[in-house]
Symmetry: C2
Subunit: 213 residues, 2 copies
DNA sequence: TAGATTGTTAATCGATTAACAATC
DNA sequence: TAGATTGTTAATCGATTAACAATC
C-alpha cells in the first residue's frame, strides 16, 4: 500500500544536508562535486553519499564528480521541493508560532497558508503574514484551498481529534510535533518530530559517558 | 570512546513514548502493565516493547506484566531524567523562543537556566522567567553554573563557532537545532533535531503515494 | 598512460522479527 | 491445571561497509 519506495529511508533523510552543501558549492562557482569531497565535508562514508546521489538518478563523471546544478535540481525534484506545496498549521502555541515565523520552509517547498487555534485572542492575528483562523473553520478552508499537508502543534490530548478532522478535510501528509503517535488511515503519511526521543538519546549518552569518567 | 552502550539506539528512542503511556496507566490506577497491552496502544511489535523494557532492568511477572511504578522509575533513571540537569540555550530566535517557552522539559529533567543572544534588544529580557544574556558572557556563566548541556538555536552560519565556545566552557552534550552537522571532539555528544530531514521524508512519501494514484 | 572517481556486486553488521522454553 | 505473559535464543531482514571492475 504505502511502499512504492525502493530508496532506503535513511538515504532520503540524508539528502537535505547534502543539498545544502551542494548549494554552497554552486554559490562558490563549482561546476562539479565529487562524492568523496562531499563525504569529507559531511564526515560521512563516501559510499553512503554515492548511494544517496545515485537515488536521484544523476550520473557522475569519473575523475570529475557529479554536475552540481543537475544534482541540485534532481534532489529538489526527488524530495518534491521543486514546487511549492501548501500546508496548514493547527495550534498556535510556542512551537506553532516558531514554525509560522520560520522563513526557511520556502526553500523546502513548503508554504503555510493558514493557521488555526481555538483561542479567540489569537484568531484574526497574523504571524509572519499568516492569518490565524478559528479551528471550526479548518475543514472548510482546507477543502477550499485543497491543502494536502497539515502541521500539528496542538497539545497532546487534542492531537488525535485535530488530525482526524484534517484527514476528513483532505489532508494526506501530517507533520506531527506532539509527543504522541497519531493513528491515521492507509494512504496518509505521518512524520513525527520527536523532541523527547532526541533528548532521550542525548541525556542517556551523557549519563553513559559521564558515568565512565 | 563513546560506545559504552549495549542498548540499541532505536530502543532508547522508543522509551519516552512508552514512559508517557506508562504514566497514563499509573494515573488510571493500574499497578501492572503488560508489554502486549502497551504494544497494542503504541501500534508496535510486542517484542520491541519487551526488549525496551528489558533494557531498563525491570523484571516482569508472567501473566501480570511489569510493575508500573517501578517501570516509570527505571525508565526515568535510564534516561537520566530522574534528576534535573541544567542547560543553556544560545540563539533567541523563533525556535529558541519556542523552546524557552515550553513548559514540558521539566518532565524530561531539563531545566534551561540561561539564554544568550547577540541582539542587544533581547539582552536583559526574560522569557518564561529565563533571562537572556549577551553571548560574550556565555563562557563565564556556563563555567560558573557548571552547565553540561547546550542548546543551539542560532543561524547555521554561526552554529559551529557557538558550539566551539560552549565546549570550551565545559558543555558535554549539545542539542543542535540548526540544519548543520556540528564538529565536536570525542567525549562530547550531539543530537540534532533535523526538521529538514523529517520534512524530506514526509514530502517524498507524499510525492510517491500521490504519483501512484 | 596513470590515476582518481564512479557504479555495482558481495560481505558484514546490526536491528527486527520469529520461535519457544520458563514461569506465575 | 491451563493459559497468558515473560525472557532468551535463533532466523530474517535491511542498511552499511567493503571490494573491485568500468570509465573518463
Amino acid at each position: 500500500m504505502s511502499d512504492v519506495n525502493p530508496v532506503a529511508l535513511p538515504t532520503v533523510r540524508r539528502l537535505p544536508l547534502m543539498l545544502r552543501h551542494i548549494q554552497e558549492h554552486i554559490a562558490a562557482g563549482d561546476g562539479y562535486i565529487s562524492s568523496s569531497l562531499l563525504a569529507k565535508e559531511l564526515l560521512m562514508d563516501p559510499i553512503l553519499v554515492r548511494k544517496a546521489l545515485a537515488a536521484t538518478g544523476v550520473v557522475g563523471v569519473p575523475r570529475l564528480g557529479f554536475p552540481a546544478r543537475e544534482l541540485e535540481r534532481s534532489i529538489l525534484a526527488f524530495l518534491g521541493w521543486d514546487s511549492m506545496t501548501d500546508a496548514v498549521l493547527c495550534g498556535v502555541g510556542n512551537m506553532g508560532r516558531a514554525l509560522l515565523g520560520y522563513q526557511g520552509f520556502q526553500q523546502y517547498g513548503l508554504r503555510i497558508v493558514a493557521a488555526f487555534d481555538i483561542d479567540p485572542a489569537l484568531v484574526g492575528k497574523r504571524i509572519n503574514r499568516i492569518e490565524v483562523y478559528p479551528v471550526r473553520r479548518m475543514k472548510q478552508l482546507i477543502e477550499r484551498m485543497a491543502v494536502r499537508i497539515g502541521i500539528v502543534t496542538v497539545p497532546a490530548d487534542v492531537a488525535q481529534s485535530v488530525v482526524d478532522a484534517m484527514i476528513g478535510a483532505g489532508i494526506r501528509g501530517v507533520w506531527n510535533f506532539t509527543p504522541f503517535k497519531l493513528i491515521v488511515p492507509d494512504g496518509v503519511v505521518v512524520q513525527r518530530v520527536d523532541l523527547a526521543s532526541s533528548l532521550a538519546v542525548l541525556s542517556h549518552q551523557l549519563a553513559m559517558t559521564g558515568a565512565k569518567q
